[in-house]
């Protein structure tokens, strides 16, 4: 039995990216089994973060052994033997998939989501399922049935949501790779609050098969890791057409790693006035300005653009997403799977008890808003109105991209807020997603990268790209990460 990694050559997880771990594995410096053991040791040491819902210890070790065997036989994919954690919204065959909810607390999927299947095929070892806001509804990872997740940078604060567990796990260097999903900012905002890199691909770029649906026209799966280069590795494996997802696009997947090296001279970065208005925390604004100056040094030019309908994206989203959710969550009725209440009088009573006991408060709020917006007499005033506004928001981006190649701005209006601070005011919680929501409306790709610290807490820079232009986003983020080291900062104690 090999000595622990600490004793042999320091802690490889403290600074190791996927790229570095791949080199270490390839050169035989350590094995996948050792990496996986190390991951579990770190996870057990930091259970106070509550980043995970289910650990996959036995099977992970088997998968790691298989990866090591495959390597001996000559296999050499970039992700072979790399530990990964999946947000608990992805169906994983044989491992519980709870979606952060009592409704699915004991649900074991009979099949793998396409994303899970692809990461396995690429050689990743599934270590755990990460904690998340219930049914992906939230911006702070406080609505989970399994308790809130703590931000590793300050455990009295939220990690962001809904992919808070994945973000915290990567930030604390418990795993080098994680998956998340993003419907209104749920990859980007926790990435920003936890100081990691997270990408929401273009709508249709990554399969939603096996991804528990929240809002089908907005949901998208994506990678979360320390760097853009790492995200490029992960996206390379997860992207692509899937015939089982009727909204999957057939466009070829480019070589994301090749695209990283491109020089930024002449890059036009659009800066939207609306992103720097009221509501943006001054310390966050300052860090973003510094990051933009860095981009100028790298050869980019900043161009003024306007996204006039961005201000209406939040109200629009809080009609569309709940409307779609009210439909998607109708399947949770206690009949075929999941939670079923007891003590019911008849079928209707069974439905009502099951759903009121199985769902938490935020989920019920959103189901009701969605039901209201779609109901007779209100459908045109709310739902159709929101769909028209969605068109205007998308058109704003099309116009803006005539004048620039990427749009840059803050991911979140502030750094991580205190746990419990926004529980009494859903509106204040919803406004956290003010910069991220318009992107999902338009179906565009966007990522958040660590761009600085404000009072010791991470600040994320959001980059928005044209449809299917993930390669450019990863390139623009990568060049920044070559010139700066915010992405390499690790919270104290981890």
């Amino acid at each position: 039995m090999a000595p622990t990694l600490h004793g042999t050559f320091g802690d490889p997880f403290l600074t190791a990216t996927i790229t570095q771990l791949a080199k270490g594995l390839a050169s035989g410096q350590y094995s996948s089994v050792e990496l996986v053991d190390e991951a579990f040791a770190r996870i057990q040491k930091h259970t106070d973060l509550n980043a995970f819902i289910t650990l996959n210890e036995e099977t992970a070790r088997q998968e790691a052994r298989a990866a090591d065997e495959a390597r001996k036989k000559g296999q050499a994919q970039a992700l072979l033997g790399i530990p990964i954690a999946h947000k608990d919204i992805f169906c994983t065959a044989g491992i519980k998939t709870t979606c952060g909810s009592r409704m699915l607390a004991n649900f074991i999927s009979p099949y793998d989501a396409t994303v899970v299947h692809k990461m396995k095929a690429a050689g990743c070892v599934t270590v755990a399922k990460t904690n998340m806001d219930e049914f992906a509804m939230g911006s702070s990872n406080e609505t989970s049935y399994f308790g809130p997740v703590a931000n590793p940078w300050d455990q009295t604060r939220v990690p962001g949501g809904s992919s808070g567990g994945s973000a915290a796990a990567v930030a604390a260097r418990l795993v080098p790779a994680a998956t998340g999903t993003d419907t209104g900012g749920s990859i980007r905002q926790p990435a920003a609050l936890c100081g990691i890199t997270g990408l929401k691909p273009s709508y249709g770029r990554v399969s939603r098969f096996g991804l528990i649906a929240f809002a089908s026209s907005l949901d998208q799966a994506g990678p979360m890791a320390q760097t853009a280069e790492d995200c490029a590795h992960l996206l390379q494996a997860m992207a692509g057409f899937d015939e089982r997802d009727s909204t999957s696009v057939k466009t070829d997947v480019p070589d994301y790693l090749l695209g990283l090296r491109q020089d930024l001279t002449g890059l036009r970065i659009g800066i939207a006035r609306e992103h720097f208005g009221e509501g943006l925390d001054p310390a966050t604004a300052q860090a973003i300005e510094a990051a933009l100056s860095e981009y100028k040094r790298l050869g980019a030019q900043l161009v003024d653009i306007s996204l006039p309908n961005a201000a209406h994206a939040v109200p629009c989203y809080y009609v569309l997403a709940p409307a779609e959710a009210s439909s998607n969550l109708a399947r949770y009725d206690g009949v075929r799977f999941g939670y079923r209440a007891t003590g019911y009088r008849d079928l209707e009573d069974m439905y009502k008890r099951t759903r009121s006991e199985g769902f938490g408060r935020e989920v019920k709020r959103r189901i009701m808003i969605g039901t209201y917006a779609l109901s007779a007499g209100y459908y045109d005033a709310y739902y159709v109105k929101a769909l028209k506004l969605r068109r205007l928001i998308a058109d704003d981006f099309t116009r803006a991209f005539e004048r620039c190649d990427v749009i840059a701005g803050p991911t979140s209006p502030s750094t991580a807020f205190a746990l419990g601070a926004k529980n009494d005011d859903p509106i204040s919680m919803y406004l956290n997603d003010i910069y991220t929501i318009p992107v999902n409306m338009a179906g565009l790709p966007a990522l958040s990268l660590p761009a600085g610290l404000a009072q010791g807490l991470p600040v994320g820079l959001q980059l928005i790209g044209r449809y299917l232009d993930e390669a450019r986003l990863l390139n623009v983020a990568h060049k920044f990460q070559e010139a700066t080291d915010w992405h390499a900062r690790v919270p104290a104690g981890f």
Binding site: F337, G338, Y351, K352, R355, Y372, Y382, L389, R390, L468
Partner: protein
């Protein structure tokens, strides 16, 4: 149901009351008891207040957008695919009987 006129440019309070909650909850098959109805009514009113900000935007003649245009809905051949065994699916159910899902009596 209390009418909250989404067609005016009124911004702000858009009251939803307990009766509205009862109706909406029934549509959504959610069991919300009396004590909770008040709280949900207040929550929904605030959210609808936020949502009413949409009325400030003129959208006459704008085509509704249900999903990003490029990712259109694709059709597949109407051919059954057998991928998961019936037993695997039944094993997930809270109650089954002779290979069928068991629920409370529906027909008297």
């Amino acid at each position: 149901m209390v009418a909250c006129d989404g067609l005016t440019s009124r911004v702000g309070w858009c009251p939803v009351n307990k009766e509205d909650i009862e109706k909406i909850a029934h549509l959504a098959r959610l069991g919300i008891d009396e004590q909770e109805q008040e709280a949900y009514a207040a929550d929904l009113s605030r959210i609808l207040g936020l949502v009413s900000q949409m009325n400030a935007v003129e959208t006459g003649g704008v085509e509704p957008m249900t999903h990003p245009d490029e990712a259109g809905l694709r059709w597949r051949p109407d051919v059954a695919r057998h991928e998961i065994e019936r037993e695997q699916l039944l094993a997930l159910a809270p109650q089954t009987h002779h290979g069928l899902y068991l629920v409370p009596r529906v027909i008297e």
